[in-house]
């Protein structure tokens, strides 16, 4: 069944945002206290997995150990007045898992393709590569038009 115009562009706009931007705001919490961090992210080709790297000593890593549910915000702000109508933002909602040894090589190569300058950071023994299994994307365009794209039930 053909998609209506607006929905056709939801997928492509999410894809553009996730492939053009390199930083995301990661939301975690500790016993109900919200916490936000800026992370360098990459995304899998099928847009089902977002990746970021963090030291295991960080607050966000500790928070994830307590509750793996996360939200990640990626946007196209340019810090100009036009942002308010031009910028788009996508919130990914999902569950974080640390990549395990068997899959580490392939996830790491996807991540480093996007952030080659972070190679030594990612290779450090204390660094965890975290994959976020995205359940849904919420795309905001035109200031306040919101569409939801469900990836996993």
């Amino acid at each position: 069944m053909p998609l209506i115009q607006n929905d056709q562009t939801v997928v492509s706009d999410v894809e553009v945002l996730l492939t053009q931007q390199s930083l995301a705001v990661l939301s975690t919490h500790h016993e109900g206290q919200p916490y936000a961090s800026l992370v360098a992210f990459a995304v899998s080709d099928d847009l089902r997995v977002m990746l970021f790297a963090t030291s295991r000593s960080t607050r966000k890593y500790a928070n994830l150990a307590g509750d793996s549910r996360v939200a990640m915000l990626v946007d196209s702000r340019s810090h100009r007045a036009e942002d308010i109508h031009e910028a788009m933002a996508v919130t990914a909602v999902g569950v974080a898992q640390e990549a395990v040894e068997a899959e580490l090589f392939s996830w790491r190569s996807i991540y480093l393709e996007r952030h080659p300058h972070l190679e030594s950071f990612v290779s450090a023994p204390s660094c965890a590569l975290v994959k976020v299994l995205v359940h849904r994307y919420l795309l905001v365009r035109r200031f306040q038009e919101v569409s939801e794209w469900t990836i996993r039930a």
């Binding site: 069944m1 053909p2 998609l3 209506i4 115009q5 607006n6 929905d7 939801v10 997928v11 939200a71 007045a81 036009e82 308010i84 109508h85 031009e86 909602v93 919420l138 905001v140 035109r142 200031f143 306040q144 038009e145 919101v146 569409s147 939801e148 794209w149 469900t150 990836i151």
Partner: protein, 736 residues
């Protein structure tokens, strides 16, 4: 005046402006400055530069607010009514945003110098016009006869705002309007109160060997607005010989009023005399040809004679608005802009002739007993009724819709004098009168209240008993059916469209199960608001303001009623098709030729409300993509939540329950009976002054219009919150 270096960036006397650029002072300002330098008499004045415009829009945060309005929805997806709404909001921003103090003072100082004698004319001077080789008359505003500096400052704001006028937005591509970068210059001049005025096209677009001169008594505004018919001469450009003279009926002329212009009866002595003598005609023609030489191309020249002296008011290259083929409706849209005088005449015609004729025609058709017609006669009646419907549909587009501009004209005047926080506040002054659909709903409520009060009656109706319902109820029921029809098609859906009261009774029962929902009584507030509005005017102006309000109310009322009247005509066409289908159902044949039979049998699926394509039903987006928040225009204030009822076909109306949110492509006249049951209204079709928005406002329902694809993006049963203040619909979900 503050820093003179600064103000010289903003204000340049015409006498010193001939070496400026169009980017700085706009095409019209530069042309006038060059004429002056060339020694041609031009009214004194000054230019307000595009830098002043940019300073104004940047200093008050205005630019970003304009961009937000312009980017609310893709332009291609907007209807003309929505474009008008956007333009009105932007116009209001320009009216209400404070002007930098230094700029306002600089303009006032200049206006108070002895060299600047009022009254004044304020004209748009767009830099884009000449740059693109296109100067389209009438896309931007000009104001004549402004008496004091307050009026001039208001005129300047409105000329700036007209960079984004509805007309300019329609032709945005052709005039090179770039929202982020475009600017507007302004020319402020002394008003030359000419005794005779007119225009010259140095080259007749239809006959390049001749020029065309038009002349009227009084101010040029009468001619430009189309309210005063001009004398017209064609002159052979090669030898100056007059090849044609069309004298006008010469009845009226435009004169300066306290502010603006007013049409007056022409003195008898002038009615028989053309506005120009032969010598004066030659003088005008000759001067226009000089301007053509000066500006190196055919010119569209405005001129006036005062005390025998010829003044040139403006000169611009001749261009015509480009057409975009048969489907380009923009020219039609431009024709909707009518003057007050024109609308008054139109109102007389609509109320005095057209509506009574329409009502009579529907009555006559309804009185025909189709069941006694032969098949052949039924087919002929159907064809006649088809033609009658076509005729009235044309009248609807050509006369009724332009009359809707009465509301818009009033809205602008209201905003100019009241400067309300909400640019659509004026709408609350419009809806007092009798509206057909409200009357229909009132009579439904009468029946519902009878049912509410009588358990036995309710029980009988629930059991499907249609007899022995009590004399009073039966009288109401029959009275309703003879006035409005039995609503069977809109209620029971096209599949079960049998004429009978079942659907009507079902609706009355649903209404009776809930407390009554009557239109809001706004009368008290309205009186206060009306008085505050009228107090802003004195003397004759107050009379005109009251007339304008009266006209706007008629325009508002008609916007609703015309649909009902047209619906009645349309219903008669369907009645003929229904009768044919009934016979075919019984006999399996019709005694007409095959093509007639097919047309009769095919017709009914088009009856009443017609969804765009049947395939729309259930054509939900890919299952995994859903709308979470939708935006449209805030067309009726308020906030409400409830389950949606998406109307894809008439059948869906049958299931409408109290407290549901009506979601539809467009609120059709035959659907408004569900308004008393609805919690809110959402419409794909956009506009603040359209049918659905009007009815929603009457019932105090939150309403959002202009939501693209809304009948596909929402599904019946979705729980939504409709924010009619901001134009936002939020879809509730159990999960984040």
């Amino acid at each position: 005046m503050d820093d003179p270096r600064l103000t010289s960036h903003w204000l340049i006397p015409l006498r010193e402006a001939h070496c400026e650029s169009t980017a700085r002072i706009g095409g019209k300002g530069l042309a006038l400055a060059r004429l002056m330098a060339y020694g041609i008499p031009v009214p004194e004045g000054f230019c307000i530069t595009t830098e002043a415009f940019s300073t104004f829009v940047d200093s008050g945060g205005l630019r970003e607010r304009i961009l937000l309005e312009l980017h609310r929805k893709p332009f291609e997806a907007m209807r003309w009514e929505e474009i008008w709404d956007v333009a009105l909001r932007i116009r209001h921003l320009f009216l209400t945003t404070p002007m930098p103090a230094g700029m306002e003072r600089a303009i006032r100082d200049l206006l108070s110098t002895p060299a600047c004698a009022g009254p004044f004319v304020v004209r748009s001077s767009s830099p884009d016009e000449d740059a693109s080789g296109s100067s389209f008359a009438g896309l931007h505003e000009s104001f004549v006869n402004l008496r004091d500096s307050d009026s001039v400052l208001r005129g300047v704001r409105l000329v700036w705002a007209s960079l984004f006028s509805d007309r300019a937005l329609l032709y945005r591509k052709e005039i090179g309007l770039e929202f982020e970068r475009s600017a507007m210059g302004v020319v402020v001049q002394e008003l030359i109160t000419g005794e005779r005025s007119g225009i010259v096209f140095t080259r007749n677009p239809n006959d390049v060997g001749t020029s065309v001169t038009e002349a009227v008594y009084g101010l040029n505004q009468g001619l430009v607005d189309g309210d005063v018919e001009p004398d017209r001469w064609s002159i052979d450009r090669a030898n100056g010989r007059v090849t044609e003279h069309h004298p006008a009926a010469r009845e009226r002329c435009m004169q300066p009023d306290t502010e603006g212009g007013v049409l007056r009866e022409l003195p008898e002595s002038l009615k028989a005399v053309p506005p120009l003598s032969r010598d004066e005609l030659m003088q005008v023609h000759g001067t226009a040809l000089r301007l053509e030489e000066l500006f190196e191309g055919p010119q569209d020249v405005e001129w006036t004679f005062r005390n025998g002296e010829l003044f040139i008011l403006q000169s611009r290259p001749i261009t015509t608005l480009p057409g975009g083929g048969e489907n380009d409706q923009r020219k039609w849209y431009l024709s909707l802009h009518r003057s007050f005088e024109n609308l008054k005449t139109l109102r007389q015609r609509i109320e005095g002739q057209l509506i009574p004729a329409m009502v009579e025609e529907a009555r006559r058709m309804a009185s025909e007993d189709l069941s006694r017609f032969s098949d052949r006669a039924l087919w002929e009646a159907f064809r006649d009724r088809q033609a009658i419907e076509k005729k009235w549909t044309e009248v609807y587009w050509e006369e009724f819709i332009p009359f809707a501009h009465g509301m818009r004209l009033f809205g602008q005047v209201y905003n100019d004098v009241m400067r309300p926080a909400d640019p659509f506040e004026f709408v609350s002054l419009l809806g007092t009168g009798f509206m057909e659909s409200l009357e229909r709903n009132r009579r439904l409520e009468v029946m519902a209240s009878m049912v509410r009060a009588d358990e036995r009656l309710k029980e009988r109706l629930r059991l499907g008993e249609h007899t022995s319902l009590g004399a009073a109820f039966e009288r109401e029921l029959q009275g309703f059916i003879s006035a409005f029809g039995d609503l069977s098609c809109p209620i029971t859906g096209i599949v079960q469209c049998t004429q009978g009261p079942e659907g009507l009774i079902r609706l009355v029962l649903e209404m009776a199960d809930h407390p009554p929902n009557v239109p809001q009584q706004q009368a008290h507030d309205q009186t206060g608001l009306k008085n505050r509005f009228l107090e802003r005017f004195q003397g004759n102006e107050r009379v005109r303001a009251e007339e304008l309000l009266n006209l706007a109310r008629a325009s508002y009322r008609l916007r609703d009623d015309d649909n009902i009247h047209l619906g009645r005509i349309e219903a008669q066409k369907f009645a003929a098709a229904l009768e044919a289908q009934r016979r075919y159902g019984i006999r399996g044949r019709l005694d007409v030729d095959e093509s007639a039979r097919d047309e009769l049998l095919r017709t009914f699926p088009e009856a009443g409300f017609n969804p765009k394509t049947p395939a729309d039903r259930g054509a939900s987006p890919q299952a995994e993509i859903r709308a979470r928040q939708l935006i449209g225009q805030p067309a009726g204030p308020g906030i409400a939540s409830g389950p949606t009822r998406v109307i894809l076909s008439l059948e869906d109306l049958r299931d409408f329950r109290r407290g549901e949110v009506l979601v539809c492509d467009a609120v059709e006249p035959n659907m408004t009976f569900v308004a008393p049951l609805a919690a809110a209204v959402i419409e794909r079709r956009g506009g603040m002054l359209i049918h659905g928005a009007i009815i929603a406002r009457e019932y105090g329902l939150p309403c959002v219009t202009g939501v693209p694809d809304v009948t596909q993006r929402l599904r019946t049963g979705d729980n939504v919150t409709v924010d009619g203040y901001l134009g936002i619909i939020t879809v509730k979900t159990a999960e984040l």
